[in-house]
Amino acid sequence: MSYQFIKLEEKLQPKDYRSNIEPTWCPGCGDFGVVSGLAKVFSEEKFDPIALTIVSGIGCSSRLPLWMNVFGIHTCHGRAIPAAVGARLAKPEVPVLVTAGDGDLFSIGMEHFPHAARKNFDITVVCMDNRMYALTKNQQSPTSRTGYKGSLTPYGNIEEPINIIAFAIACGATFVAQTYSGNPKHEAEILQAAVEHKGFSFVNILSPCPTYNKIDTFQYYKGKTIDINKELGHDPSDYNKAVELAKHALDHDKDPNAKVPLGIFLKVEKPTFEDKVIALKEKYGASDNPDWNKIIERYKP
């Protein structure tokens, strides 16, 4: 026995997944593209808005669930992934996505990512990576490039950024991809593949902040991206090749000739945590109406 996601008979329109609350994002924010992309994928997947949960943390991008007409949990800073794990343990038939920012997922919430990934929870984690903290008005994040000027580091970031593509692979994620909110078609394709992947899927979406980040802009990415699957012919089931490609994901920070790699780095099949729990429950004869006499018996003198 496995679980099946609840789905609709008939497709809804992408707009049916949008709430009537207007996003409070700045004009030109890359995250608008993520909302459109997700709505399109939900429509394609025939997800039911009343049987779908999006979980987020805190930050500009983490407001996303509030703009959607689906179930959502806007949790505390960094805590989206464990709340999503709770939702998965409770109802495996309800698909769960995490949408959060680079600071939320990889700074304050860093301890959760590796565990959900290695356990292979059937969750899609979407990182809206603007490479800085925007809601608190421009500080460096764990993905900020060296030299990035934030309000706490006006002299320029003296740190190296984390390579989150390589990190996600190392953590044991079974699906790892990168896309760009300036390329809606590619973004929707990747999100759909991630949602359809049974297991932990991670999608890093390069999503520029037009207000504060003057380096990692739409202008910067224009013509700089390369599709690793279509243009380089990368086969995501090739783990070694995925690691090799991931190693170079941030080369473009320092090498003006290097490209920004987009596409699916890794996709491998492994049993999900949810399926393992279902198997355990079967082994123990799980029931909502168990034989209580039998359970109580072992406490008798």
């Binding site: 609840i6 709430s19 609350i21 808005p49 009343i50 049987a51 779908l52 949960t53 999006i54 979980v55 669930p65 509030l66 959607m68 007409n69 689906v70 179930f71 959502g72 949990i73 806007h74 949790t75 505390c76 805590r79 992934i81 464990p82 709340a83 999503a84 794990v85 709770g86 939702a87 998965r88 343990l89 409770a90 109802k91 038939e93 309800v94 301890e111 959760h112 565990h115 729990v277 355990l280 429950k281 082994k283 123990y284 004869g285 799980a286 029931s287 909502d288 168990p290 209580w292 359970i295 109580i296 406490y299 008798k300 003198p301």
Partner: protein, 595 residues
Amino acid sequence: MAFDLTIKFAGEGGEGVISAGDFTMRASTYLGLEVVTFKSFPAEIKGGYALSQVRMSDQKILSQGDGFQILFAFNGEAYEVNKPLLKPGTVLVWDGPEGGDFEPEFDWLEKIGVITYAVPMSKLAKEEVGAYITKNMVALGAASELFNIPIDVYKQQILSKFSKKGQDVVDLNFKALDAGINWAKNNIKKVDPYKLPERQPQKDIIILEGNEAIALGAAVAGCKVFAAYPITPATSIGNYLSEMILRVNGYVYQAEDEISSMAIVIGASFSGVKAMTATSGPGISLMQELIGLASMAEIPAVIVDVQRGGPSTGMPTKHDQADLYAAAIGGHGDGQRIVIAPTNVEENFYLTIEAFNLAERYQCPVLFLTDASLSLRAEAISTPNIEEIQSKLINRPLITKDMNVNIDEILRYKVTETGLSPMLAPGVSPKPYAATGLEHGEDSSPRTRPDIRKMMMEKRFRKLENIEEENQHLLEWDLGDLQEGEKADISVIAWGLTASITKEAIQRLRKKGYKIAALYPKLLYPVPAKAIEKVASMSDITLVPEANYTGQFARFIRMYTDVKPIQYNIYRGEPFIPAEIEAKIEELIGKPVNA
């Protein structure tokens, strides 16, 4: 005179002191006796002073008692620590005359009237049995012979504990029992009066340890997700639950830390199932922010805190009642929380179920304060009627797809007279919403307008406005034969394990003729101010004994009522003994009534 006997095993951690106590507890329940155990050991896996004490009686037992009648001292440290507790008529069974690491002061012991029996536990285990680790079984063999403890139960316990390790191990332990029996038969002339009674007809009981009772309560309440991170002394709740919960269609999830445990509880409860976590003080500190989210987003959550000595790492295996502030007001902002505390093992079971009922009813986090001593204490309790309990479970007011409700009118945070709003969950409700820790309007969308902020703040607090009146069963009154309007010599308010110890002290004092009005609140926060003012009005002085330094509940009483209680605080890492509270009350009243 009722039968009331306490046997204590004391020695070094890892010497089998704890299992000696557990086996003896089993033997006394086999005889149909009531039991209450008390165990204490260091946080380390091996070494350090450990004790296991079994109090048995043919009457209901309220506390671990004041001391013991029989002490098994496995080593010199155990003898030294317990020397001040040796009273006229107590029996000291010690590891000698050869092979042990100490010799008691016979002259002094004889002078105060302590009876001593030498049993060379170490020597017999090493030389006759051939395994030092069977020392505790040698002691139990002697105990069986000396005090009429049924040897068959000891043998049964050996079988159930060691069968898995093979017949050799079982035989070795049987041999050790025999060595103890034979030594006692051939070398000891019994001069003490202590003897377990003949077997009484069995009552319909089950035996539970404190943490086991919480695990069983959670399963009965319908908890489907239990998420926790290992921490002493709370870990064993998950241990007891891990297989049981699979049978009732739930799962025990070991999280990466306490923060994620709490987030998992929120995610699961949001999704429509009952969820719980269990931790101790350090974990509560880590969970505070997310407990605030459960208050703000009105998500039912049960958080068990098995209190231990703090702050920081403190004394991980020791008794303390000092997490009340953290549980009730430890978060930032003004949030709604309910704090309840059990006073004995039976309540660990029933109040765990109650914690879920309160969380579901009031849509907020419920903190359940138990403690290290209660976590290990074993009690025999009447077999619960699960069907009856389950028929009275409270479940959240979910709007489901099959209800005839106008979707446009559904508001997750609808402002109502009671403050309680309809709930929604994915997969079952006809309309979604996004829960948020941001201040929000009735439809859950973020709002910061002053009028909406005021309205929602008041709505959330309105839920708990009448919690005391609505939960009188969480206030235990103990008035003895005090008549309506009659003045008491003293009023006493006690919570948690201290309440059950206080109750025994008060029973003794009533026999001496004192008039005492006592209240044992299981609901601690919101503070049940009316009941507290009422009990305080019954006398001129109100005493609040607590095992913490600052008097956390006494200070809440000062904060929320006009009562100015006298505090009696101990903070040594052990629970009160009834005699201490008895003496304190007599001191406060001034003079013994019968003097």
